[in-house]
Subunit: 270 residues, 2 copies
């Protein structure tokens, strides 16, 4: 099934715009718990509360081959009706991007990916050619360093804009198959508003609530589309590490449920 | 040993600025040859001709866990006096970049990495904090799509410049420990010249000769520093896939030797 349909179905079934970022980190996890075992417990406890899961590959790569084996098991374990986004932020020349796309969509079996725009269209095309899969292009990221380049004022017709706006405009132009979304950090609600106003129908993946401090109310006000949707709000650490005790999965469920319900209350507020 | 010293030693010992890109691709390889077996044969045949090796992680990820196991064996097999660069083009927020840096430098054991600048300084800092390791920041890449964003004219004091020039300037400013280099594609000799003129002492990693068609003579004229060095010239496909027959390693050696010697002739030309 096409990523966007799968996402719409999971969103409807679970009445949720919440994505849980499976950034599984041995240092933050309950002790004596395996990586897959931890992910399985989180998934079992939250699969009726989310619209998607998003493992960030860095955390698994940092654990070497056993970490990547746990990632593989995790992707397979997630129920088939919930889309899984590879937070990979890949970006390389065409020949190599083709290998990355194969790895993420065919080998690991993800439904969607995050990708960097720095190398331009031909670095994204191999991902976009998988029309059933989703590709989220980094636009305005959630970190402090985002201003170093993403906010540079560029002289581009018809009017000067910041780099992230040009990325959004180009991505929108490339979105002929409706399989492109943008990554916009919750920590920059003004930039989020600029992007949403220019691109009323673009799907936005929004990390940065929770541990990174993004303001949920501002995010939803500025990010939601005319259908009070069009956004995927990701929380990783706040949900995953709600408790370090034996009750960790139940504690994660509680935080996930609260976050989902708060998102719903805010998006439906008049 | 610090990456830059290791590189200088290998460059001197082998009289070489040539880096071989170990972009091992089952589709292009001789039949009935394992990935590690292929890499081992290439390394055995060329280790006295190169200043570095550079496996691109995408090709190994595309083969799943067995591919990554072959990568691990390959990095370990490369003689300890030749630096190994992870062509990974990673770029993520600080917390995650720290995991990527750990993966690349500690788990896989690389001496250097390529990284994307799009997320700004705090996404690069975790790599740079490994002061013994090298970090090559993508500046002007070798692909056609490089013009989409890297050439955008930006209004930044003291004078308007293209985005890739600002990346080079910032990278130069961040280079307090001398462990930063820039990636500049051989296919853009004019941009290479702009970068070298602004940054006479910066180490440049130059992919794009060989299969990608970069002009070696223009690259060396525009890229070399005052010591007729300061550049690492990477060739991947042209060297690796010189023959699909049983003689593949000898054929690779021949191309590598010719390329190294041509580079030396051109850099020493008056």
């Amino acid at each position: 099934m096409k990523f966007t349909e799968k996402l719409a179905n999971a969103t409807a079934k679970n009445n949720s715009l919440l994505c849980i970022g499976l950034d599984t980190d041995l240092a933050a996890m309950p002790e004596n718990t395996g990586v897959f075992e931890f992910n399985k417990a989180i998934i079992d406890a939250t699969a009726d509360l989310v619209c998607a899961y998003k493992p960030n590959l860095a955390f698994y790569e940092a654990m070497g081959i056993p970490g990547l084996q746990a990632l593989q098991k995790t992707v397979k374990y997630i129920p088939g009706d919930i889309p899984v986004i590879a937070d990979a932020k890949r970006g390389d020349i065409g020949n190599t991007a083709k290998a990355y796309a194969k790895a993420i969509f065919e080998v690991w079996g993800f439904d969607a990916v995050t990708a960097s725009p720095y190398l331009g269209y031909d670095s994204l095309e191999p991902f976009l050619n998988y029309q059933e899969k989703g590709t989220f292009i980094l636009c305005r990221t959630s970190n402090a360093g985002a201003i170093d380049f993403q906010s540079l004022p560029c002289n581009v017709p018809p009017s000067p804009r910041q780099l992230f706006e040009i990325v959004a405009d180009k991505a929108s132009g490339w979105n002929k198959n409706g399989n492109i979304g943008l990554v916009v950090g919750a920590t920059y609600p003004e930039e989020l508003s600029i992007i949403r106003q220019s691109h009323p129908n673009m799907l936005l993946l929004i990390p940065g609530v929770g541990a990174q401090g993004g303001d949920l109310e501002a995010v939803i006000r500025n990010g939601k589309d005319a259908q009070r949707a069009g956004i995927i709000i990701n929380s990783s650490r706040q949900v995953l590490y709600a408790s370090k005790g034996k009750d960790f999965a139940a504690a994660s469920r509680k935080v996930a449920e609260q976050t989902r319900d708060t998102i719903n209350r805010l998006r439906n507020a008049k």
